[in-house]
Amino acid sequence: MQESQHEAQTLASLRDFFIAQDGAELEAAVGRLPEDLKSAVPAVPDWDAAEFDFNRFFVGPRILAAPPYASVYLSPEPQVMGEAALEARRIYAALGLQSPFDARLPDDHLSLELDALRIMQGGLSHTPSEPLKELRDCFVHEHLNVWVPLFARRVRMVAPEHTIIRFMADAVERCVESVAESKGRF
């Protein structure tokens, strides 16, 4: 149970980080990491400066260094609102869930997908469900764990000025990989 709480806390923190709107929200999201991860977080002397870097990678207005959308990595050519976004939307719908952003934010934004994973994991930890487990496995193995490593690699390649950006990108890759490896846990 403790393991699942750690995982849920990690997923929630990562989710909040990648959808943060300013330096304060970035800092708060990092502050919600589990203690063991938090202790490894690199020092951030200036969260405003980290925010500039974050926007350069994930928000804009310049060309994004690492767009946080699955479609960009899973489509034959990089775009948003590709088949991967619709697939994510269908998965949420099958769970009885939806994005609060409607079509204004592609459904395959990293934070929405991390939230879906967190909720699926939470459900499985409480109530075993074979269809849900299969869906979770499919979502993780054939979707998240395909594109998130590509995303994290893009972040590393472009080399953010602020190490917190790379730290969190690495963290999300490890977290998804960990869920994938623990396929039989729930």
Partner: protein, 751 residues
């Protein structure tokens, strides 16, 4: 794996939907997982697929392009899947250009501007995401502070150009600025003013035959125009004419793809098109092939023109000026005069010269004296604005707030009479020069539908001026070289995310543009952005803006229709356009009745109006601007972009991955340059570093670089263009002459 994943998900999704996961969470005590998260519960309504597959919507391309295509956009699951030309338009006939087919890439490019953003330090690249409220607050605060400090708003400037030609975009932002008070406007046109004025002097208006009527021509001269790249739909009518036996001649200093498809290609020296036209005219006179009957019935000043030709022009002179052999000039002239009907399509390149307006008048005269004006398959074709009589609401109805102080034009202010205020108008073709001398100075600039840093000359000076602003606001879909310098960028919608209506400046079709998808991210239409500013201005300072405060793009679009548009197009309501595009109900032949809009009511070889504006009354030749450097530089349109739009998209970069300078083999040899070398093109205004391509397609004295804005590339041809202006444009463009951007000079060296 893709296929496997889809099939697996399909069955799993179905199973999960039957079980309702939210109920399962609740039953299992895990409902807390939903709280504080992003995703929210919904009633499962089945797969969000559109019944019967994609749904089609009517769309219209809104780029600044001859073709202004009526399109169909196909949407499934709320996502734009693909687009095609609308077959109901006989001009589009179901096809689009490469750029048009790329629209879904444009809409769904990861590179779009997504949110309002504020830059901390102009040009630093340090951007903070802000809310729309914060962005509008910052803008309104600044406007109010300028008004308070200066006592007027002439320090507030607008540069709204033609990057998005939807009719509401032609009206709303200017309407907002009028609603704020008297402000400064960058006006004039980067495109066609010299030729536009020339046609007004000659015909009294600028109206062309229907381009579909090109199919009826017996002889076509494509003069300084490259439709194989810039108006591909018109090409089919040219081909139709060829199939019926017409000869097609291309006149262009560059061996374009259009030239390659023609029967004959002439390459005059740069800026000598007027001499060529006049030389042809002289030869037609000598052969007795002028249509004296038409001229006598319909024209003013032909005897004076004839006298000018006989005294000042010979074919041999024209040959020396243009570099085209005299016998060729004579032969083409004879062919043109004998072919009935014959037509010339005058492109916008040849009038972007210091003698460009005169060149167009000379070509007009050539067409007129051969009796080809007002004839099916004939005409001196340049463009038309006949179909543009919309309301331009709310711009047309706006007044500044009571008590607003504005610009006083000494030429219009009569002594002893009440002060007459107006907006201050600056020529965008000399924007840097105009900003430098502006008094009172420009403190705040709003840029929309425009990328001045990639389109205006003298870019280095432009950047200095922009850096001196208190605030620069840029509204755009992509992060252009102008947006790089902004303090605030606001994301705006593509045509698929808003209602619009469009007409062309070339063909006569009218097409509606339905909103077919929701705006992505936080993009908003210009109509909404303008209303937000007005609303906040009035909250902060009641009565400070008279513009609409609550306006939907659809309402705005509807209010731009009027009886003139209805009658012209044979519709009773805008809703008729939901069935498809319509074509103006008019004679496809312009000037067929022989009634011109000049002061004399005739075609004017001799124009008192031209003389009034400081030009020769006749279409006399004037030599082009002397070289101020070794090479002429040409910067025409590229195939895969439209000005600075499209070329940033990945699909275009597959074909056109990087900018090049095209250089003739002899010139390259003299400079020790081979294809692939990085070279420096430079002059006293600036320089660009660019890869060389050696080609026979450009003349020996010429360097050619296509204008464009490449993603992640600092290349910019505007670095080496000065702000010389064309001879004409002041008549119809508020005193603002057109740009002489094809009459520029530079040198080149290997890096």
């Amino acid at each position: 794996m893709e296929k496997e994943r889809k099939s697996m998900n399909s069955s799993l999704l179905s199973e999960m939907s039957r079980r309702s996961f939210v109920k399962l969470l609740t039953a299992g005590g895990a409902a807390a997982m939903l709280h504080g998260g992003l995703l929210t519960p919904k009633a499962f309504a089945g797969p969000a697929k559109t019944a019967g597959g994609c749904k089609a919507f009517h769309s219209a391309c809104q780029r600044n392009c001859y073709d202004t295509c009526a399109m169909l956009s196909y949407v499934d699951d709320g996502v734009l899947k693909y687009v095609e030309g609308d077959k109901q338009s006989t001009f589009t006939n179901g096809g689009l250009c490469v750029k048009g087919y790329s629209y879904p890439r444009r809409v769904y490019s990861p590179d779009r501007i997504k949110y309002p953003m504020k830059q901390i330090g102009r040009g630093t690249g340090n951007w903070k995401r802000i809310s729309w409220e914060e962005a509008i607050d910052s803008i309104c605060d600044k406007i109010l502070s300028i008004k308070k400090e200066d006592g007027h708003l002439l320090g507030l400037a607008l540069d709204k150009n033609s990057g998005s030609e939807g009719i509401t975009n032609c009206a709303v932002i200017q309407g907002l600025f009028t609603g704020l008070g008297y402000t400064t406007r960058f006006e004039g046109s980067n495109c066609w003013p010299a030729g536009y004025d020339a046609q007004y002097f000659d015909f009294g208006d600028m109206v062309c035959n229907d381009p579909e009527d090109l199919a009826n021509a017996g002889y076509i001269i494509l003069w300084g125009v490259n439709p194989a790249w810039t108006s591909i739909h018109t090409m089919k009518f040219i081909y139709a004419a060829k199939e019926r036996g017409a000869k097609v001649v291309c006149i262009d200093p560059v061996l374009t793809q259009t030239a390659a498809k023609c029967d004959e290609y002439l390459a005059p020296k740069m800026g000598t098109d007027g001499a060529l036209a006049l030389g042809m005219a002289r030869h037609i006179l000598d052969l007795g092939l002028a249509d004296r009957g038409w001229v006598a019935d319909n024209a003013l000043g032909f005897p004076e023109f004839e006298q000018y030709l006989r005294e000042k022009v010979t074919v041999q002179w024209a040959a020396e000026e243009t570099g085209i052999p005299a016998e060729t000039i004579a032969r083409i002239a004879e062919e043109f005069a004998k072919a009935k009907p014959a037509t010339a399509w005058i492109g916008y390149g040849l009038q972007r010269h210091t003698n460009g307006g005169r060149a167009v008048r000379s070509i007009d005269a050539l067409v007129a004296m051969t009796g080809n004006v007002g004839k099916k398959g004939g005409g001196a074709r340049y463009g038309q604005e006949f179909t543009w009589d919309f309301e331009y609401w709310p711009k047309s109805k706006m007044s500044p707030p009571a008590g607003s102080i504005g610009f006083v034009n000494p030429a219009k202010q009569k002594p002893g009479e009440p002060t007459v205020y107006s907006n201050r108008s600056l020529n965008r073709n000399q924007a840097a020069r105009e900003m430098r001398k502006a008094d009172p100075k420009i403190r705040m600039l709003w840029v929309s539908c425009s990328n001045p840093m990639s389109q205006y000359p003298n870019r280095n000076e432009m950047e200095k001026m922009y850096r001196g602003l208190d605030m620069l606001v840029v509204v755009d879909q992509f992060f252009t070289q102008t947006a790089e310098l902004a303090d605030i960028v606001l994301p705006t919608t593509t045509q698929f995310e808003e209602w619009q209506v469009n007409v062309s400046y070339w063909h006569y079709w009218l097409a509606i543009n339905e909103q077919c998808i929701e705006p992505l991210f936080e993009a908003k239409p210009n109509t909404v952005i303008s209303a937000l500013v007005s609303k906040r201005m009035n909250e902060l300072s009641p009565g400070s803006c008279t513009y609409q405060q609550d306006l939907t793009p659809k309402e705005c679009m509807i209010r731009n229709f009027n009886d003139t548009i209805h009658k012209l197009n044979g519709i009773s309501s805008w809703e008729d356009l939901l069935k498809g595009p319509v074509k103006a109900k008019r004679n496809p032949v312009s000037w067929a009745e022989g009634k011109f809009k000049t002061p004399s009511g005739k075609y004017e070889f001799l124009s008192a109006k031209a003389a009034e504006y400081g030009h020769p009354a006749l279409p006399e030749y004037h030599s082009r601007r002397p070289n101020h450097d070794k090479f002429v530089i040409l910067t025409p349109h590229t195939k895969f972009g439209l000005h600075s739009q499209f070329i940033n998209l990945d699909w275009m970069r597959d074909f056109n991955p990087e900018p090049c300078v095209y250089i003739n083999p002899n010139s390259a040899r003299s400079k020790n340059i081979v294809s692939g070398d990085m070279v420096r093109v430079y002059n006293k205004f600036g320089e660009v570093a660019v890869k060389a391509q050696v080609t026979d397609n450009v003349p020996e004295d010429t360097l050619l670089m296509y204008e464009a804005w490449f993603k992640n590339d600092k290349f910019n041809v505007q670095n080496v263009l000065d702000d010389a202006v064309a001879d004409m444009g002041a008549y119809q463009f508020g005193g603002h002459r057109g740009p002489a951007i094809q009459e520029q000079f530079a040198n080149v060296e290997k890096m």
